[in-house]
Amino acid sequence: MRELRHAVAEWLLAMTMGGALCAPLIAKPYIPADDAQILAQLPAGARHADVTARRMAVDRLDVTVLLAQFYIEQARASGDLRYLGYAEAVLAPWVAKPTPVPAALVLQATVQQSRHEFAAALATLDRSLVARPNDAQAWLTRATVLRVLGRYREANSACAQFALRADAFLSMICQQSIEGLAGHLASAYGTLAAAPTEGLLNPERAWRESELGEMAVRLGRDAEAESCFKRAIVLNARDFYVRAAYADLLLRQLRYREVLALLDGQQSIEPLLLRLAIAQKQLNDPNFAHSRELLQAAFAAEAQRGEAVHRREEARFLLEVEDRPRDALAVAIANWAVQREPDDALVLVAAAYAAGDPKAADPALEFARAQGLRDVRLDGAAAARS
């Protein structure tokens, strides 16, 4: 008995001392006591030696393109924005040349698009397409950027240009995905779902499944959407857009534990960390505080840099994690000025109603009306108002 009491006392003391010890350790600079303490893990392509190697390849366009593609792929898979900087660095000498180098310009536009610098991305693509109008990849990237901006008619003609120069099936995904936003959701979903898929490569299948899943969500067919998302994740486990869309579906259905399972180990990707934090908050999960702190730090740094990469996420964070609807609305309005995907409309509408300022939702609702954008989630939010 005495031993037990002793152990409990020691444990309590340890917790108290540990708390006192942890606080300065995390908050203040310190000198590590042990030379063997590991301070950082270095991911692929992020070592000094890689940088030195890539300097040696500075006048080789083929190597530059491979390196930039590698970095962009790493950024996509890991959500690590530093890779976009590395890609930009290897592309820089080629982008700066007075005569356009289309291969470098298209990749540069992809970097800009990933940073949500849409106007710059379009300008870069224009430069590239003037030099090489037959570049299918440039047309596809252009369609993607215009789609995010809500400029569906222009996106559609970019898809048409892509179709002239590319595989028929990919062209169909490009076109139907935009048709599905611009007034023809049901027919686009039917067409894409019915199209034969023999002979498709896995990345192409994954793209199809994720587009189908997003359409099914907007149609309100959550069960179908879920199977599409699941198949897309199996085909391409590193696609965090699909994972985020699937997590949103689970969140809407209050399936928080499944969100934790889906996003386990994906905390480094900010949009996924946001979904994780929302679920953790609902479950009173002990890791919630840490996720919240990570997100706060990330948004604070982004705000100081004056960038808008994750504004949609920030608006949702303020709305669903911080319970600050007025601040969320301000961010959602700023976000809507930059990008107009269905999710951007949704967060604007939700924030406007939560903040008690329903008129602020009008730009998104009017946009949806004018474009014929159909989304049961928007209908649900609008119905909640009336």
Binding site: L21, P29, I31, Q41, L81, H290
Partner: protein, 376 residues
């Protein structure tokens, strides 16, 4: 935080736990460094924090190529890191570049991973009214890298983003209007008298007997307030007058004394003042001691000013403000202590204990300072 001394065994798991918490699950933010700079006249106190990953890109830390960076590897690369910092971070005032001196390298655990935390001091040629910062960290390796700066000057804080297209930026630190300069130097004066306890102890040792008179080898309480007040006024005025004279002479570079000499003599002055209460030699005209040693204390104050520098165009007003600040701080202490001392003056406690033993304690403390300053 310095190295924890002995770590008992039951701390270890807890320690490991919180190190783990700081290491795990790092959200990917863009590459940012964090800089803090605090302007004090001609010098900049600051720190720069660079993510371990970014430092690896810049100078290469992972010397054993195992894909991870250890503290030992960081320490081994510190020289290279400082060279890199000198080449990529430069500060300048209107009169030219500032000399950077780096402090000890430390680690800061931020939520998105570990950062190298490097303190620095920059000494600029003249008091800063504007600061140019040339920031090129990682400019070749990661053009999206930025330095997030917090700049503190004249009581106001501004933040800015360094790097990218704006490699060289100039910050207006707010023109030191006469009023700004006055307020800043007044505050420094007050602060100095409160933190510089040696000046106060000297004054106190001269004031403790001000409520007493020496009759037939014994202390007696003054019967009325008037003589006590006159005593206090004489001492304070003499001290003020004396240190103002030498402070001005030193501030305008007319006379200079080595700081070791003035600091030692200041300590000696406290010993003399305090011992005079225990073994009274000068009982009636203590203001003479106040004046004589006050001249030396003035050189001590001047050392503070010469560290800070006086702003061009507002030299005189800053000097006056600093001096007034010193007087105000000194007066506040006198007003707080002397009424109590006056009330206690007739008690045995004061006459037999507080006065002699308090003075002895002051003298002993000053003796320690004297030895430290004269030898150290």
């Amino acid at each position: 935080m310095k190295r924890p001394a002995a770590i008992h065994r039951w701390w270890l798991p807890v320690l490991a736990l919180c190190v783990g918490a700081a290491m795990s699950a790092q959200a990917h933010v863009a590459s940012n460094s964090f800089l803090t700079m605090r302007i004090e006249s001609a010098s900049v106190e600051g720190s720069v924090e660079l993510a371990v990953r970014d430092a690896e890109i810049a100078v290469g830390l992972d010397s054993n190529h195992d894909g991870q960076v250890s503290w030992g590897e960081v320490r081994a690369a510190q020289a290279a890191l400082l060279v890199y910092l000198r080449q990529h971070l430069q500060l300048a005032g209107a009169d030219g570049g500032c000399a950077l001196r780096f402090g000890e390298l430390q680690i800061n655990a931020r939520v998105d991973g570990n950062y190298l935390w490097q303190a620095f001091t920059a000494q600029c040629p003249s008091p800063l009214e504007q600061l140019s910062i040339d920031y090129r960290l990682l400019d070749a390796e990661d053009p999206s890298h930025r330095g997030l700066l917090t700049l503190i000057a004249r009581g106001s804080t501004q933040s800015a983003v360094l790097g990218g297209a704006k490699q060289n930026q100039r910050f207006d630190l707010g023109h030191p209007s006469p009023w700004n300069a006055f307020a800043e130097y007044f505050e420094v004066g007050v602060w100095h008298i409160w933190s510089g306890i040696d000046h106060l102890l000297f004054l106190l040792s001269l004031l403790l007997p001000a409520v007493l008179v020496r009759r037939t080898q014994r202390w007696q309480a003054v019967p009325r307030a008037a003589p006590a007040i006159i005593n206090i006024l004489k001492v304070v005025t003499a001290f003020t007058l004396a240190h103002s004279i030498t402070l001005s002479l030193a501030a305008f570079d007319i006379i200079r004394l080595p700081s070791r000499l003035t600091e030692s003599v200041i300590a000696a002055s406290i010993i003399v003042g305090a011992l005079n209460n225990v073994f009274p030699l000068v009982t009636e005209a203590r203001w003479r001691i106040a004046f004589a040693f006050g001249l030396l204390h003035g050189f001590g104050f001047a050392a503070v000013l010469s560290d800070m520098g006086l702003p061009r165009g507002a030299r005189l007003i800053s000097l006056v403000a600093f001096n007034l600040g010193v007087e105000a701080g000194q007066l506040a202490v006198v007003l707080a202590i002397m009424p109590v001392v006056y009330a206690l003056r007739a008690s045995r406690l004061y006459q037999r204990a507080l006065m002699p033993w308090g003075s002895t304690a002051i003298a002993s403390l000053a003796l320690v300072w004297f030895v430290q300053r004269a030898i150290g």
